[in-house]
């Protein structure tokens, strides 16, 4: 097991803290770290894609599980896989697709580990149909504060606390997942442009569930009548008869060429701060105008549909030295006015917002701190160095909370503890369970200290 002292941040590169990082080679070594933890506790970490401080533990131990990545026992008839927590969804997809199966939930990036997906109870692009990630977990192995490994089954309190529990109930070492059957490795994709936010919401609603996967990009820099315009992308798994003749060889497998896990383009240089705004506006304009008004039935490989952003170069240098803040919130159906107000406020600020994803969520999952709830979800990235952003986002928090919505804890890096408690009414229950299971506070993170989880 390798051990080193490192300064860690989330993917957003804000608030660095130092911890001792352990990279166990097996479950036994991981258990030894948890048993021998110091007074400042331990937290699990995967690929470090969480934008905030959920996988940091200042002055304590961080258990890097990216090395525990065996995929064991794919049951290709029943569609069940047992895998280690450190397996990335990207790799799982690569292994399973040729067998005719898919990971149950695919978020916008494949660089998330199974453990991370459980700890943040990730919603995918078809949340309305499939729910969040842990809905498809039939069992998980949890390393608890006493250093023992327990098998946790759905329906138990410990399972509900661990699903979306941000690693604070223990270290997920492995899980058994129920998979999704597919007949081709292609997606039939339709793209349409919406002139403003109302149009976008209407189009998102109108399609119903005929095309299960749906998300929209919102141009948060467009103002006036175009405020909230965007591009809606929807897809379904292509059936064999939808495949064009030339796609025959790509059935259930990736096209050769694109090496998995690595961008084909070089990294981006940092951009001078003053150029960021105009460059972002131009980028959004090109993206909007460059999309056809409506296009249906386009075939794309599964990885390209779900994980298109993984093929792009690392955009973080563009956000400057201060790093980036990812803000993700959800408000219920009927609260569209709040969504409108937030979008208008961001547009009025003229913040350089390039990435903004709008989704619809379906029924909530039983996870005590699960994020997804029926309604609209908007996720956006902003440079942390923007003047006044801290107070601005506090204001948005208040609006979201007043509408009964919530901000995603797994992505958060800046919320007030009071706001978090107001948004997550089951937090008290979660705290109580933690106090009972883990009285010495073995599992801690910067996030848990910051928000008092």
């Amino acid at each position: 097991m390798s051990v080193d002292t490192v300064s860690l941040t989330g993917w957003g590169r804000t608030a660095p803290t130092t911890a001792v990082r352990f990279r166990p080679r097996g479950d036994e070594e991981a258990a030894a770290v948890v048993r021998g933890r110091g007074p400042r506790g331990v937290i699990a970490r995967g690929l470090g894609r969480s934008p905030g401080d959920a996988a940091q533990n200042a002055g304590g131990s961080v258990l890097d599980l990216s090395g525990l990545a065996r995929i064991g026992g794919v049951d290709a008839t029943a569609g069940v896989v047992r895998c280690d927590a450190g397996v990335s969804l990207e790799r799982l997809l690569r292994v399973l697709l040729p067998l005719g199966w898919l990971p149950p939930v695919l978020p916008g990036t494949g660089r998330v580990t199974v453990g991370g997906a459980i700890a943040s109870d990730l919603p995918g692009l078809d949340h309305r149909r499939a729910g969040s990630f842990t809905r498809h977990v039939s069992a998980l192995e949890l390393l608890t504060a006493d250093g023992e490994v327990r098998t946790v089954l759905p329906g138990t309190t410990l399972f509900d606390a661990t699903a979306g529990g941000l690693g604070l109930t223990g270290v997920v070492l492995g899980a058994t997942l129920r998979l999704r059957r597919v007949t081709t490795g292609l997606m039939a994709v339709s793209t349409e442009r919406a002139g403003d936010l109302d149009d976008l919401l209407a189009r998102l609603t109108a399609g119903g569930d005929r095309l299960p996967y749906a998300s929209a990009w919102v141009d948060l820099m467009a103002r006036g009548r175009a405020t909230g315009r965007g591009v809606l992308t929807r897809g379904e798994h292509a059936t064999p008869d939808m495949r064009p003749a030339h796609a025959g060889r790509t059935r259930l497998s990736r096209r050769p060429g694109a090496a998995p896990g690595r961008s084909l383009l070089p990294g981006l240089p940092p951009l001078p701060g003053g150029l960021l705004g105009p460059a972002a506006a131009l980028c959004n304009e090109v993206r909007y105008r460059g999309t056809p008004r409506a296009r249906t039935g386009e075939l794309r490989p599964v990885p390209a549909f779900f994980h298109a952003s993984d093929a792009l170069p690392d955009v973080r240098p563009l956000y400057g030295r201060g790093g980036l803040v990812r803000y993700r919130f959800t408000v219920g159906y009927g609260q569209e006015e709040t969504l409108h107000r937030v979008v208008r406020r961001i547009a009025a600020r003229r913040s350089p917002a390039v990435r903004a994803v709008l989704q619809r969520f379906g029924a909530a999952d039983p996870g005590l701190l699960s994020f997804a709830a029926p309604g609209w979800s908007l996720e956006l990235d902003l440079p942390a160095a923007l003047p006044g952003l801290a107070l601005f986002l506090d204001g948005v928090d208040e609006e979201v909370a007043a509408a009964g919505g919530r901000v995603c804890l797994a992505k958060d890096s800046r919320m007030r503890p009071e706001t978090a408690a107001a948004m997550y009414p089951r937090l008290a229950e979660f705290r109580e369970l933690r106090a009972r299971l883990d009285p010495t506070g073995a599992f801690r993170s910067d996030l848990s200290r910051r928000l008092g989880l």
Partner: protein, 251 residues
């Protein structure tokens, strides 16, 4: 814990009645700070400062701290850190002295040096050790442009700040990679109680400007902050000026 914008949730002020420190505390309370420790010699002024900050919604405690009693620093400050993480330590204690009198009375001059330098060395090291153990945090050291180049008019004070400044820079280098930030703040002439009655110098600022610069520096994770920023250029020129010429300047 600090948030993504560097706003701390807990603050320890050494020199709890300092106007710059209190202005900074007010700004930080408006952002995220909820727990504040004001360390200083017990006095009605310290209690009043605590009461004022409490009125702004913070949970404020005072702690007896005497910069001149270096031997007690470890025990006093250790108790504060034992109560929970401290995200920002603001070292704001210091005395200006009275140059004319201090030149006559060496012991008075020594007192300036002991407060501004020796006291900061012991308190700074204790805090740095505690911050390093918790793996995060910022140590903000209020230095002065007076430490950048000694002037005839206040070289006793200036030399103590020069020592403090060099100490803080070295400490910052030593803590590189430990997650702890040391930020040296070099204000010019600041209009406070201590400087009341003194002739105002060019580029003078108030405590609010210094506080704003500190908050910005925390957000940017800066190593050095000049207040006002233009002093960086002015002092770069003055630092390299030949002494015969420097002596003749009306500073």
């Amino acid at each position: 814990m600090k948030d993504a914008f560097g706003a701390p949730q807990s603050l320890l002020v050494l020199g709890g009645t300092s106007e710059i420190a209190l202005a900074t505390a007010r700004r930080l309370i408006a952002l995220r700070t909820r727990r504040v420790w004001l360390a200083g010699r017990p006095s009605p002024a310290l209690d009043a400062a605590a009461a004022e900050l409490r009125g702004r919604g913070a949970d404020v405690h005072t702690v007896d701290f005497d910069a001149l009693d270096s031997a007690s620093h470890e025990a006093t400050l250790g108790k504060v850190f034992a109560e929970g993480d401290i995200d920002v330590v603001l070292m704001a204690f210091g005395v200006l002295g009275d140059q004319a009198r201090d030149e006559e009375e060496p012991m008075a001059a020594v007192r300036v040096a002991q407060t501004n330098y020796t006291g900061a060395v012991s308190a700074g090291l204790v805090c740095a050790g505690a911050l390093q153990a918790q793996g995060h945090g910022s140590l903000v050291v209020l230095s002065s442009v007076a430490g950048e180049r000694a002037r005839r008019a206040d070289f006793i004070y200036g030399s103590s700040k020069a020592g403090l400044d060099a100490f803080a820079q070295g400490l910052g280098d030593a803590l590189q990679g430990t997650g702890v930030q040391v930020m040296v703040v070099r204000p010019g002439f600041v209009r406070t109680r201590a400087t009341a009655g003194l002739p105002e110098q060019p580029l003078a600022t108030g405590p609010e400007e210094v506080a704003a610069a500190i908050v910005t520096g925390l957000r940017r994770r800066s190593e050095t902050v000049w207040v006002p920023g233009s002093l960086r250029v002015v002092m770069a020129a003055l630092r390299h000026m030949p002494r015969p010429l420097f002596r003749r300047l009306p500073l």
